[in-house]
Each structure stands twice: as C-alpha cells, then as structure tokens.
C-alpha cells in the first residue's frame, strides 16, 4: 500500500508492505536512524516517537496507521535554527545518557511527559518514564535531566 507520513515536517511517501512497522518506516523509508528498536514486545521504549504530538512506541504502530499523520523523531527535536530543545539540553547538562541507544526514545517520552505535566515531581517523572528502559544510567541522571528540562534546561543547583 501507499502511505504518506509527515516526518519532522517533511512529507515522506512510499509504497510499503501492509505489515511494515512505523519504526522501520522511519528508519528505512524516511532514512532517520536515531529511532532505535530494542525489543519486540513494546517493552523498552527505544523506538518512542511523537505521533501528532503524543508519544507512541513506533514498533507497535503500523506505517499504515500513521498514514496522513505527523511524526516527530529525535532528529526533529532541535529548532530550525539548530537550538536544542530543553530536553536535549537537560540530558547533556545532567549526563542523562551513556551509550545513547535508549536516548532518542527516552527524550521523546520526556517531551510528551512534559507537555502533559510541565512541572513534574521526581516520582511523576519516574512513573512517566516507566515504559522506557535504560541499562546504563540507572535512571538517576535521566530523572535529573527531565527535571532540569522542566526548568528550561538549566542544570540543577547541586551536583551529586
């Protein structure tokens, strides 16, 4: 079937298999490889993207279901002028990433979380990111990064 999906504001049209996952559409047809795939049971969240502004695990959405919709990936987070999103700034300032594999999905989940709750508590951040696994950071600095992003990307006053 033919689908047309707006990915980071660019219209991507392709003839695809009915069973093609949105995650693979983004990686293959749209050529954007920041979105990673870390499992096959919708458990790890590495493939999280925004679909019409809300976070979805793109391994559990068919490309066909996204036909005519808007997808935002990690590559689309920074502004047109190259200025980083507050979540990107927060992850850098708080060392919220190590190997980087979970990071694009984690950041998209964080963007969605902050859109719903701009001033979350630590517990709310942890609950909001429960569907995204990270094996490197123990989540400690990811939580700090998201809290920092909620404060406009400013690093926390005390470092520990």
């Amino acid at each position: 079937m033919k689908v047309a999906i707006s990915v980071n504001g660019r219209q991507v049209e392709a003839e695809v298999e009915d069973r093609l996952l949105l995650a693979h559409f983004v990686r293959e047809q749209a050529g954007l490889t920041a979105t990673n795939i870390g499992c096959d049971t919708t458990s790890c969240g590495a493939c999280t993207v925004l679909l019409d502004g809300e976070s979805v695990k793109s391994c559990t959405v068919l490309a066909a279901q996204a036909d005519g919709h808007e997808v935002t990936t990690c590559e689309g987070l920074a502004g047109a002028d190259g200025r980083w999103h507050a979540v990107q700034q927060g992850f850098h300032a708080e060392h919220g990433l190590q190997c980087g594999f979970c990071t694009p999905g984690m950041m998209m989940a964080a963007v969605s979380l902050l859109a719903e709750n701009p001033d979350p508590t630590e517990e709310e951040v942890r609950t909001g990111l429960e569907g995204n696994l990270c094996r490197c950071t123990g989540y400690h600095n990811i939580v700090r990064a998201v809290l920092a992003a909620a404060r406009d990307g400013q690093p926390a006053a005390e470092a520990s």
């Binding site: 990673n36 096959d40 060392h95 696994l133 094996r135 123990g138």
Partner: protein
C-alpha cells in the same frame, strides 16, 4: 588550573542527542548497499539430536538468497575437544536458542518468514535444566565425557578450612541467580567480503579480540580482516569479542560473497546472548560471640550453560575474591563448573566478583544475626585495617590499597544510621504493616585483572590538533571525553582540538579493548604515556627552533605553547613545531602493562521498605561509597556508579532468567524478564572517596562494575533485615514479593 578531577560534560553527547548514534544497524554505507539480511534459525528445544534439516521450502521463498547449515561449513577437525562449541549445530543441540541454520534474504521481514520454513527434525534427549540435574550425571551433555563437571578449582585452604576455636559456625546454601545482560542494543553485525579482505562492523567491546576470534574460527590470516565498531549500545561484558552467532554472520559473507547484515530481536537476545552469574553457593562462617569472624569458606557450583565459554573462569574469580574485605585467620574456597542445557554463561557486569561479595556479605549478616550484634559492628571488627596493605587474603588475592572501615563510617554517617535504626525500632514496636530494613555491604573487587595491557597512539598535526588512537573501546563510558582531558592536561592542547579514534583494527592493530573496568587505568595510562613521548619529541624540536637548551624550555599547558622559561616572546605553538617535525613527526605509540590488578572497594547502605502483607520490597534510599582511586571526571565516574548500582539492585529484587524442567526458557521476552525500570529505583546518594593506587601513574582503579558488586548484597540484606524480627533469616534472590511473603509466612508458621 588542571582539568584533572573536574566535572567536564561529554563531547560525545551532541551527536547522540541530535542525530542519534550510528549503531551497526544504522549503517548506510556503499559497501553494504543491497546487503542480505541474516536471520538465525535457532533450536526450539533444550537437548536433542538433529536427525535431518530440510531447507528446500525456505530456499524457494521469493527473496531468499541462501539457506546455510553446518553442512555448508568446513568439518571440524577429527579428534578435537569433545566439549568444544560448534558454529552452527550439526548433529545435536544443547540449548534453546542455539544457532542451527542461517537464512539470507533480500528484505528484512522476509527473514523470519523463511526461517519458519526451515524444517529441522529433532530427536529429543532428556534435558539437564540446572545445576542439580547436572551434578547427578544421569544425562551427559557431551558423549565421551564421564561427568557434566568440566572444571574444578580451589583457593586458600580449600576443602580443609579450619573452624577450630569458633563459638558459632553457620552453613547455608544460597542462590546467585542467572541474569540476562540486556544491553539496549542487541547483538548486531554487518560484513562484506571484497575478494581478498573481510570487513566487519560489529557491536563489540573488543574489535581486536573479535578479529582474532573470527580469524581463528574461519582459518583466515588476521591481516585479512578489518573490524570496525560503530556506536555500541551497551555491552556490560556480554559483548566481549564476538560469539558464535556473529562469527557465523562473518562466515556467511565470505562463503556467499554477499554483503550481509544482522541484528537479532530481543527475544533472540534473551536466549542467544550470554547470560551471567548462575551460581549455587554454600558458605560456612565461624567466629566468636564477641563478633570476631575467624573462618570462612565458600563452595561454588558454577552453571556454565551448555558450553564452558567463560563459566569456569568466572568461578575462579569468585573463589579468588571469596574472602572479601575481611582479615580472616582461616579461609578457603572451591568451585565446580558444570554444563547444563541452558544458554552459555559469560561475563556480565562484575563477572565473578558480585557473586563473591554476595556470598560473604550475606554470611556476615547471617553471623551477626546469630550472635545478636549489629551487622555494622561486625564489619567494623573484622575488615582489613589500612595499615595492613598491601594485604594478601586467605583466598590468595593481594589487595593494593583500601580504607574499608572509613568507607563504612562515611556511608553510615551520610545516611544517619542511628536514626534509621531508631525508625526501624519504632515500626517494629508499632507492628507497622510496612517495615523498614537496613542492609550493609562492604565490598572489594578486582579490576584490570587480565594483565593484557593496553595501547595508545598520540599524533599532533601542523594545525596544532591532536588525534588519539586508543585500544580501549567505548560503548557509553565517555572515553572520548576522558582521553581528551588527559591529553589536554599533558600537552596543553585544548579538548576541542583533540579527536579520539577507537574501534578500527586497521587504525589500531594491537589492543585488548574494554572489559573488567580496565579502560582508564590501562588505556588511559597508555594515552598519558604516548602524550609524554610526544612532549619530549616537541621539546627537542622546539630547542632546535628557538636555539635554546632543552632543559631551558617549558610547556605552558594553559596556553598550549613552548617557550624558553620565563620568556613568552619565544613561544612556539604546537602547530609550528609539528610543521617542523613533518608528517608523523610528532607521534608516539605506547603500551601500558600494569604490574598488578587494582582493587576498588566501597560500602553501600540500602534502606528498604517491606510491605509485610504483600511481600513487596521497595528500595527507598541507597547510600554508597565507591572508591576507585583517583577520579579523572566525577561526571563520568558517578554515571558508572549509578548504572552499576541499578543493575545490582535489579539482581537483588527483580531480575532472573528462569527455565522449566525441560530446559524451556520462561523469560525470553522483556514482558517476562523483569528488567528494572525508573519506578523501581530511588535517586542514589553518592559519597565521594578517593584512595589512590600505586599500581598506575593515574592512581586510578576501575569504576565500571563496583556499584553492581556493592549494591546487590546491601539490598538483599536490607530486605531480610526488614523481616528478621519476624524470624526470617534468609531469602534467595531475587527477593520478589512472592518469595518475601512466603518467607514471612514460613517464619510465622515455625513460631
């Protein structure tokens, strides 16, 4: 001011945060255009004879490039080791997930379609699903052997450990369960055979070791193989070198002449990638009623899985480190390494050392409970005092430096231990539903224990920029930031003008790579030494150019210029000197071999709440000292501690690879395997501590695994402490609600 020891944010981040890393499956290189996708056909049965493989239906499916089995491979030499591991299973499978055939397809999704059509006839054999069944020897994994025990060993007093003079002697058999490493990026490889050379892109921690393993398995000259590591999405020991699945992929490229690419699914990863831990441990501890521990012994049965890849080696590390931080009169340890019809065991964060710490730290708490003494006090009495270093333990390890008691006191003070004990007492008196538990571990581990050394090359070019070629192979640690800090400190070239290159065997032919928390202390030291040679090269050239004596020259590391001492007008830049030197004129190789391993140590205090009605244990605070000698960059070191602590907590509370009695895995997806999430952890409270080692000039020990070694026993001890007043003395890991609830009820029934 020197950059050493300061908080420097990572230079790796901008790329990872904006475009994402380029992991193996992200490669869009010309060499891989049209590459066939490899799908591995795996055994669905734990133990069986293969009586036939029919690939015809798969081969006829549109898009299938090739279907390959062991019949397409050169036969292994006759009369070899009966327990050797094949590449593809030929006549017998020994674990669910064992590779049996490869399917190469034009499209990604066609691979699984075709793999389903490969028809393998299995004649089932009785399965050996675990240690107990392996030890009976009723079913042997390897025909021609007499037992499933492939290796044994002892340390210290071994079987003859004396318990003379002890008032109290306790013995207990405990489980150190099997874990799945779960790097977020599964195993992945791409390979292209270009007529005379094999180029491999591999998600590995050790490209040079991978090159050697592939060359050996395929009978190729290593010089004909180039291994490149793209970004690697986590390893945790499970991506050391390459394993058979990946070697098969490399072989397929050479055999078919097609470029190939492979990334396993998570469900494959959870059965096909190595697992870690998997020991049954029996400890025996004895001492006096006034708190002195006199004797300790540990007997380990190591489950190696179906093949002895690294299992026996891990058990050796466990027995070496069995005595922990304690000054014992008598100590000994032994191991037996057995094979079972399960996924092979190899390194996973800590690799043998968490197992040792989990046993003795559990034993110390058990002993403390038996004599009715606070577990902190028992540790105070028994840890090796600082004036005894270097200290050789009862099980034969020689520790470099340690401040064990000081580490413990720092943690107890930071947590306000007396206040926590008072709160615990209040809840016990009130018979609160939610009880409080405090768990301590004081641990030591061994890093850079392989003694393989590491390499580095530093080059300064005529723009004044430096390039570092490092044998260490980063996969999240931040080596590029760290090595640039080292070179800036040594040469005064600013970090932004320093490029770090790793993970390409053509650029870095000789190296070991990254495991065992070895990188800073070995690879980092090699970088410093190479930079030091470049500095002396520059000094000689600058002396010629300025027409001054070498001894009168100084390097102004703040400005990155050479000058006659006290005469800024004479200053020469690195670029000017490099121009004079000519191409490769300012360049040096170094290899650092340490004289001995190093022994990081620390203390953890876990505070756990246990709901006595549901059995659910929740970690509410975790306070740690993790002393890895001198710290280069606290940002990176803390990150390593955080990740290590979390993986250790996961072992104590949640994670376990399980099999049914027929050897079928029960945890082969992330729905079933309880990889720890953000909601199951608190923020960690890290206390700084730096006790340098004399073993290397940086004074550094490894920090990658320490957090894991310390946190597992602390959290388990806390869970048991929370319910000890109800009569519970032990709970095996993971301390799930089911197990905790059962332990509470058994203890109540026993009363």
């Amino acid at each position: 001011m020197s950059i050493m020891g300061t908080r420097v944010l990572r230079t790796e981040d901008p790329r990872l945060l904006t475009q994402g890393g380029v992991y193996t499956d992200d490669l869009r290189l010309p060499e891989l255009t049209g590459a066939a996708y490899v799908t591995v056909v795996r055994s669905p049965i734990a133990h069986a004879l293969i009586t036939g493989i029919d690939t015809s239906a798969a081969a006829e499916l549109p898009g299938v490039v090739a279907v390959l089995t062991s019949a397409d491979m050169p036969a292994p030499p006759e009369g070899g080791d009966a327990t050797a591991e094949p590449l593809l299973a030929a006549d017998r499978v020994r674990y669910v997930g064992e590779p049996v055939a490869l399917v190469l397809t034009e499209g990604r999704y066609q691979g699984e379609d075709a793999a389903e059509l490969v028809s393998v006839d299995y004649d089932p054999l009785p399965a050996v699903p675990g240690i107990e069944e392996a030890l009976t020897g009723e079913t042997l994994l390897f025909p021609g052997t007499e037992s499933n025990i492939l290796a044994t060993g002892t340390a210290g007093e071994g079987d003859d450990t004396s318990f003379d003079g002890c008032d109290v002697v306790l013995e207990r058999t405990i489980v150190n369960q099997r874990l799945a490493p779960v790097p977020l990026e599964p195993r992945a490889m791409a390979a292209a055979w270009t007529g005379d050379r094999l180029t491999i892109w591999s998600s590995t921690q050790n490209p040079q070791l991978a090159r050697g393993a592939i060359a050996g398995a395929l009978g190729l000259d290593p010089a004909l193989i180039r291994v490149i590591t793209p970004d690697v999405g986590g390893g945790f020991g499970a991506k050391v070198a390459v394993d058979r699945d990946a070697i098969c992929v490399a072989w397929a490229a050479k055999h078919t002449g097609h470029a190939v690419r492979w990334i396993e699914s998570r469900s494959e990863n959870l059965v096909g990638m190595v697992h870690g831990r998997a020991q049954r441990q029996t400890y025996k501890i004895g001492g006096t009623t006034d708190g002195r521990v006199l004797s300790y012994r540990l007997d380990v049965v190591q489950d190696c899985g179906a093949f002895n890849r690294l299992g026996a080696f891990l058990a050796q590390l466990t027995v070496l480190m069995a005595a922990g931080v304690y000054d014992l009169q008598h100590g000994g340890a032994s191991f037996r390494a057995v094979v079972t019809n399960t996924t092979p065991i190899a390194a996973y964060r800590g690799a043998g050392r968490p197992e040792a710490a989990a046993a003795i730290e559990r034993a110390i708490d058990d002993f403390a409970a038996e004599i009715g003494m606070d577990p902190a006090e028992v540790r105070r009495i028994n840890v090796v005092p600082p004036d005894k270093f270097p200290f050789t333990t009862a099980t034969g390890a020689t520790y470099d430096t340690g401040e064990y008691a000081a580490g413990l006191e720092r943690v107890l003070a930071a947590a306000d231990y007396p206040a926590l004990r008072a709160e615990q007492a209040r809840r016990r008196e009130g018979a609160d539903t939610v009880q409080l538990g405090l768990g301590i571990s004081v641990y030591v581990e061994i890093t850079a224990g392989d003694m393989g050394g590491e390499t580095a090359r530093v080059v300064v070019d005529d723009t004044g920029a430096a390039t570092v070629f490092t044998g260490s192979s980063a996969h999240g640690q931040g080596h590029h930031t760290a090595w640039a800090m080292l070179v800036q400190n040594e040469l005064g070239i600013p970090m932004e003008s320093i490029t770090v290159v790793h993970g390409d065997t053509d650029a870095i032919p000789e190296a070991i790579g990254t495991f065992g928390s070895r990188s800073l202390q070995l690879g980092g030291t090699a970088v410093v030494q190479a930079a030091g040679v470049v500095k002396e090269q520059a000094r000689r050239l600058a002396a010629e150019m300025i027409e001054a004596a070498e001894a009168d020259l100084e390097l102004d590391t703040a400005r990155g210029t050479w000058q006659v001492r006290g005469d800024p007008a004479s200053a020469l830049s690195w670029g000017q000197i490099a121009e004079r030197a000519g191409p490769d004129g300012l360049a040096a190789d170094a290899r650092f071999d340490a004289s001995a391993p190093t022994f990081p140590f620390g203390a953890h205090l876990a505070v756990v709440e246990v709901d006595t009605e549901t059995g659910k244990a929740t970690l509410v605070r975790h306070v740690t000292v993790d002393d890895a000698g001198r710290i280069l960059n606290p940002v990176l070191a803390e990150g390593q501690r955080h990740g290590g602590i979390a993986q250790g907590v996961a072992q104590a509370l949640l994670e376990e690879v399980r099999y049914d009695p027929d050897g079928n895995p029960l945890t082969s997806t992330l729905v079933d395997y309880a990889a720890i999430t953000a909601t199951e952890l608190p923020s960690f409270e890290l206390v700084a501590s730096e006790t340098p080692t004399p073993i290397n000039p940086l004074g550094a020990k490894g920090i990658g695994e320490a957090g894991t070694v310390g946190s597992t026993p602390a959290v388990l001890n806390a869970v048991i402490d929370a319910v000890s007043h109800l009569g519970v003395r032990h709970i095996d890991m993971p301390a799930t609600p089911e197990k905790v609830w059962a332990a509470i009820n058994e203890a109540r029934a026993a009363r």
